[in-house]
Symmetry: C2
Subunit: 321 residues, 2 copies
């Protein structure tokens, strides 16, 4: 089926959270991640980086995840997106943080990797770079009437003290619960040459402070890839970043664990430090073995690899990966 | 001299680089880091976080390092600074990236840690947050005529192809040599309670792209602290971040190495992957043992701990730490 008992394939996630959703919403999410898995896998012969970027791009464009067109609004009504991509072969990285106005942050992140010697551009500089690289401004598509309505409702509830109660002062704006973070997207892949890659994209936490950077664009935190494994984490970025969770999972594979063992141990680790409802992770290792785990109600995920006719898709624990 | 054979103290660096400097410049740098070491150590009884932040603040205000008032200009003439602080006791983090106009990014980073549930604010959002917290705008002090003159010279040389030759396209703006990065500042400390902390601040690479974020504000990359060790790295941020060098050093201490062994191994590691002239690192461990290493000509550093009457200061290899 594949050389060296290696199995090329791509593993995606669409966010960890409570997932108390109805059948209609579930179908929408599953169809969107299915399309993304097929899109990435169909170009896996172009390399792991191309595949994970394409899968993430499709999820950004779907509008149903909290990434790209579906991105949440900041407290003061902006869309500020984070994204990152890493090539496990040479450790090259491209990432953007607080990028406004561009509907595909993952494509800008890829340009950072290809066209600069930097690894991360943020804010206004990231936007100017994107425009210089030919990306259109899509602010009108990113900040829609529908999102503004939802945003006003959230802010109203917050001002009335109905949500985000746990914190005093500025801390109130932030809900220490991963539910709001549902919909961050990510992909990891092993290609036919044996190279690994990871990609991630997010709109961040709803009504976050302007300028807030989560784990997603931070190497080792929201994503990592080397010659042993590729990993993408999702959840409360502030916790994930403190433990460098994606790097942690890759290190476990380097020390002999399988992708599945690494995913399980990584989630055990963050649960032991910061509690439940904090994170999910997807991992693929150098043999193409996959692993996913989460300490939330569910994590939407899809896998498509050599020998499979169509993507395997699941949300909850009862399933096969 | 100290309880549990632990020795409280603070270790600072003022940047790794070639250090082919004259006697006058050397005296200026050594006096500045000496003052910073004394300032931090004098408040070490307030805790490791307070001490490292105070040492870094003094170096930012000295104007002689590439941090705070001394920060380099971006390609298009802005000052955009990165800083971060981490408390090893509870893993709390505060960091800012691409902060403009505020002369003490490390103090804003500390406010991010204390006043928000985020760990990293970037760009315009970071600036607005700083202003909201009462910090003054010091743009006129940050962008001086002297810096503008130096900046014009660098840009002229770059346009003529005299510097930054190695790269094509956008890559040309970036000198793959750590000399330009001299002057990033950092501090690590162990306090009398046995708590560890790390702090870092930088103006980043000269004539960097607007929006560029280096390793300094990235947890695990430019800084890290937990109950085992605290580490701060300096050099080519894009390389340091790919290897999560500060976390790497702390992991080594967790696995039984001393601070010195961890520093030496971390530099060996980055040298093996990205070559010489790429990085320096300072480490303090839970016993207060210190370590510093670098693969450049020198790294300005200072140490002041229990039982010492004044700071030990050194730049090159011939010295004691």
């Amino acid at each position: 089926m594949c050389a060296d008992s290696r199995r090329a394939g791509i593993l995606l996630h669409g966010g960890a959270g409570r997932y108390s959703i109805d059948e209609r919403r579930r179908r929408i999410l599953e169809n969107a991640i299915k399309e993304a898995a097929i899109a990435g896998f169909s170009i896996l012969e172009n390399g792991a980086v191309e595949a994970v970027v394409e899968s993430v791009r499709v999820m950004e464009d779907s509008g149903v995840f909290n990434a790209g067109l579906g991105s949440a609004l900041t407290l003061n009504g902006y869309v500020e997106m984070d994204a990152g991509v890493m090539n496990g072969r040479d450790l090259s990285i491209g990432a953007v943080a607080n990028l406004r106005g561009i509907k595909n942050p993952i494509l800008v992140a890829k340009k950072v990797m290809e066209e600069t010697d930097h690894i991360l551009l943020a804010g206004e500089g990231a936007y100017k770079f994107a425009r210089m690289m030919g990306f259109e401004d899509s602010t009108d598509k990113l900040i829609t009437e529908d999102k503004k309505r939802k945003h006003r409702e959230l802010v109203d509830k917050w001002l009335k003290g109905e949500i985000y109660k746990r914190f005093s002062k500025l801390k109130r704006f932030y809900n220490q619960n991963v539910d709001e973070a549902v919909g961050t997207v990510g992909a990891v892949a092993l290609d036919y040459e044996g190279n690994l890659a990871a990609a991630v994209s997010t709109g961040g936490i709803h009504i976050k402070l302007e300028g807030r950077v989560g784990d997603s664009p931070l190497p080792g935190a929201g994503f990592y890839a080397n010659k042993y494994a590729a990993a993408v984490a999702t959840g409360i970025g502030e916790y994930i970043a403190r433990l460098l969770l994606s790097k942690y999972a890759c290190d476990l594979v380097e020390r002999g664990k399988t992708a599945r063992e690494a995913a399980v141990e990584a989630i055990k680790y963050i649960t032991s430090v910061f509690g439940k409802n904090t994170a999910g992770i997807i991992v693929v290792d150098y043999k193409g073995r996959i692993g996913a785990d989460f300490n939330t109600g569910g994590m939407l995920r899809a896998y498509l690899g050599e020998g499979l006719a169509k993507p395997l898709i699941t949300i909850y624990r009862e399933n096969i990966f």
